[in-house]
C-alpha cells in the first residue's frame, strides 16, 4: 500500500469508527448469537441444547414456513414497484410549481406520522367488507359496471378473504409512502436547473425531460428507496400483526416470515427455530440486495464518483 492509500485508509476508518462500534455491539454479536442458537433447541429461559441441523431440516419440511415465504415474496413483488411508482410520481408532481405546494406535501406525508397502533386499527375499519370506506367508494362503481355488463361484482371483505387480504395490506402500505416521497423530493432539489433549461431550449417535453434528466440524476436515490423497500417489505410484521391480533389471517394469507419468526420466538417458546427462520430471512434479503446492487451498477449514476 502506498503512503497515500494508507493515509486514506486511516482517515476512512476514523470517520466510520462510531458505526464500527455499533456494528459490533448491535449486529455482529446478535447475529453470531442467533446463528449459534439456530442450531440449538432454545427457549430463552433454559440453557440452549445443541441439536445440529434439526431446526433447518424441520424448516425445510414445514408447509407453514413455505407459505410464509410465498406470502412475503408476493407482498414484496407487488408492493415495491407500486410504492416506487406512486412515490416517484407524487414527488415529481409535488416539485412542480403549483399553488399550495407546502400544504400538499404535508398532506401526503401525514399518514406516515400516524402511530402504529392507530394505523392498524384505522385501516382495519377502512377495509371492513360492509361498511368500510374503501368498499363504500368502490361499490357505486361496481354497481355501475354490473348494470352495464350484467355481472355480479361485489367488493370483497378485504381482510377476511384469503385472496384479498394481502391486497388490503398493500393499500395500507401505499398510504404510508410519505417517507419515500420526502426522500425523492430532497433528491429532486439536487437536479441542476440548467440541465432542464437547456433541454427546454432544445424543445424537450415533460416526459423527455423526466426520462433523460430527472431519473438518471435521481438514480442513487431510487436505488436507496428500492433497497429500503426490499428490506422493509421482507420484514413486514407490525401492521399485519396488529390487524390479525397476532394470528395468521384467513387461511394464513397474512402470515409473513417475520410474523412466523415472532410467533415461534415468543408465542411458542421456540427461539432456536425462530433463529433458524431469521437466518434464512437474512440470507434471502442479502442475496436480493446483492442482486439489485449488481443490476443497478449500470443504471445508477453517481456524479460524485
Amino acid at each position: 500500500m502506498t503512503r497515500m492509500e494508507r493515509k486514506r485508509l486511516c482517515m476512512g476508518l476514523l470517520f466510520i469508527s462510531p458505526w464500527i462500534l455499533g456494528f459490533l455491539a448491535f449486529s455482529v454479536y446478535p447475529l453470531l448469537s442467533s446463528l449459534y442458537h439456530s442450531f440449538c433447541d432454545y427457549s430463552v429461559l433454559s440453557p440452549a441444547v445443541w441439536v445440529g441441523a434439526e431446526n433447518y431440516s424441520t424448516l425445510f419440511n414445514d408447509d407453514v414456513f413455505w407459505r410464509s415465504v410465498s406470502n412475503t415474496v408476493f407482498f414484496a413483488a407487488v408492493a415495491i414497484p407500486m410504492g416506487m411508482v406512486l412515490s416517484l410520481s407524487l414527488a415529481i408532481l409535488l416539485n412542480c410549481k403549483v399553488p399550495f405546494q407546502g400544504l400538499f406535501r404535508t398532506i401526503f406525508f401525514l399518514p406516515s406520522l400516524v402511530p402504529m397502533v392507530c394505523l392498524a386499527v384505522l385501516w382495519q375499519w377502512m377495509l371492513n367488507g360492509d361498511l368500510g370506506l374503501i368498499n363504500n367508494s368502490i361499490r357505486p362503481l361496481l354497481n355501475g359496471i354490473n348494470q352495464i355488463l350484467g355481472t355480479h361484482l361485489v367488493p370483497p371483505n378485504w381482510l377476511q378473504e384469503a385472496a384479498y387480504a394481502k391486497w388490503g395490506l398493500i393499500f395500507t402500505g401505499l398510504w404510508g409512502v410519505g417517507h419515500a416521497v420526502v426522500i425523492y423530493l430532497a433528491g429532486l432539489q439536487g437536479v441542476p436547473q440548467h440541465l432542464y433549461e437547456s433541454a427546454e431550449i432544445d424543445g424537450a417535453g415533460f416526459w423527455v425531460k423526466t426520462r433523460h434528466i430527472t431519473l438518471p440524476i435521481l438514480s442513487p436515490v431510487i436505488y436507496f428507496n428500492t433497497i429500503m423497500g426490499l428490506i422493509g417489505t421482507f420484514q413486514v410484521f407490525a401492521v399485519p400483526y396488529v390487524m390479525t391480533g397476532g394470528g395468521d389471517g384467513p387461511e394464513r394469507s397474512l402470515l409473513f416470515m417475520a410474523t412466523y419468526l415472532y410467533q415461534n420466538a415468543f408465542d411458542y417458546w421456540n427461539m432456536g427455530y425462530a433463529c433458524a427462520i431469521g437466518m434464512v430471512m437474512f440470507l434471502i434479503i442479502l442475496s436480493l440486495t446483492y442482486l439489485s446492487t449488481k443490476l443497478s451498477e449500470s443504471h445508477v449514476y453517481y456524479e460524485g464518483k
Partner: protein, 280 residues
C-alpha cells in the same frame, strides 16, 4: 400566449391530480379526527357516519386525563427526540462521509456489510441486545433508547451516503489541493451542501423516536418514564373494550407536533435548490 396557456393547462392538470390523490390520503386521517370527536356510542356505529351528532371537544381533555401522565410522557418523548436527533446527525454524517468522500481500500465492501446489517430481522436481535444492556445495567434508564443513535444507524448512513455521492468529486479534490484536511472539507464544504438531506435525516429520526413504542416497552420499567407512543397502549383493554374516541383523540394530539414541524421545515427543502445543484 400559447406558452402561457400550455403552462396553465399543465398546472391545472397537476393540481387536479394532487387534489384527488390528496383526498384519498386525507380520508383515513379525517376519519380519525371525526372519531375523536364522537361520543363513545357512535364511534363504531353502523352505518358509519362522518359527522358526530355533537362535537365532543371534551374528549381531548378526557383522553389526556385517562392517560395519566400525559405531559410527563410528552416531556420524556421530547427529551429523547432531542438526544437522538443530535446523536444521529453527528454520527451518521461523519460515517457517511467516510463511506463516500474518501477513497479507501475495501470501502464499498464494508458498505455492503453495513447494508447487510439492516436485513437482520428485529425479533432475532431483541434478546441478545437486551442482555447486552442488562450487563451494562442500563435497563430501566433511557440510555438504551438514545445511546445507539450516537453510533450511526445504518439507515441514516445509507441515506446520507447516497446524497454525498451526488456532490461532484472535484470540490473535494480542489479543497485537498488547497491543503484542507478531511475534517475541514467535511465541515466547511460537504455539510453545508447537504442541508436538505441532513434535514431529512433529522426529521425522520425525530419521527421515529416520537412514534417508537417497541423500545420504550422493553427497556423502561417505571410508568412515569414512558413516552407518548407507549402511553397510547394504555387505552387498549382486554375485556372492557377500547375507548376509540379517546384513542383517536390522543393519537391526533400525538400526531400534531410532528405535523406542524414537518409543515414548517419542508420549505427548507426548496431553499436547498440554491445550494446543491443550482450552479449554472
Amino acid at each position: 400566449m400559447k406558452q402561457g396557456l400550455k403552462q396553465k393547462i399543465s398546472t391545472t392538470a397537476i393540481l387536479t391530480i394532487l387534489v384527488l390523490a390528496g383526498i384519498c390520503f386525507l380520508a383515513p386521517f379525517a376519519w380519525m379526527i371525526s372519531t375523536s370527536l364522537k361520543p363513545l356510542s357512535e364511534t363504531m356505529s353502523l352505518p358509519p357516519r362522518w359527522l358526530p351528532s355533537k362535537f365532543q371537544w371534551q374528549n381531548y381533555r378526557e383522553a389526556i386525563t385517562e392517560m395519566g401522565y400525559f405531559w410527563r410522557y410528552a416531556s420524556n418523548t421530547i427529551y429523547l427526540c432531542v438526544l437522538t436527533v443530535t446523536g444521529t446527525l453527528m454520527s451518521s454524517s461523519l460515517v457517511a462521509y467516510g463511506f463516500s468522500r474518501i477513497e479507501w481500500k475495501g470501502r464499498d465492501k464494508v458498505f455492503l456489510i453495513l447494508l447487510a446489517t439492516m436485513m437482520i430481522p428485529f425479533p432475532v436481535t431483541m434478546v441478545p441486545v437486551y442482555s447486552l444492556f442488562r450487563n451494562l445495567q442500563w435497563i430501566g434508564s433511557f440510555k438504551p433508547l438514545w445511546v445507539p443513535s450516537f453510533l450511526a444507524g445504518a439507515f441514516n448512513v445509507f441515506l446520507l451516503r447516497q446524497f454525498f455521492l451526488t456532490l461532484p468529486h472535484d470540490i473535494s479534490e480542489a479543497a485537498r489541493i488547497d491543503g484542507c484536511n478531511e475534517l475541514q472539507i467535511f465541515w466547511k464544504i460537504i455539510l453545508p451542501l447537504a442541508k436538505p438531506a441532513l434535514l431529512c435525516v433529522a426529521l425522520f429520526q425525530f419521527m421515529s423516536t416520537w412514534n417508537d413504542f417497541m423500545g420504550p416497552l422493553i427497556y423502561l420499567n417505571e410508568q412515569k418514564d414512558f413516552t407518548l407512543a407507549l402511553g397510547l397502549q394504555s387505552f387498549q383493554s382486554q375485556q372492557g373494550g377500547t375507548p376509540w374516541h379517546y384513542l383517536m383523540a390522543a393519537s391526533t394530539l400525538i400526531v400534531l407536533p410532528v405535523l406542524i414541524l414537518f409543515f414548517f421545515t419542508q420549505k427548507s427543502f426548496i431553499q436547498g435548490i440554491a445550494t446543491t445543484g443550482g450552479k449554472g
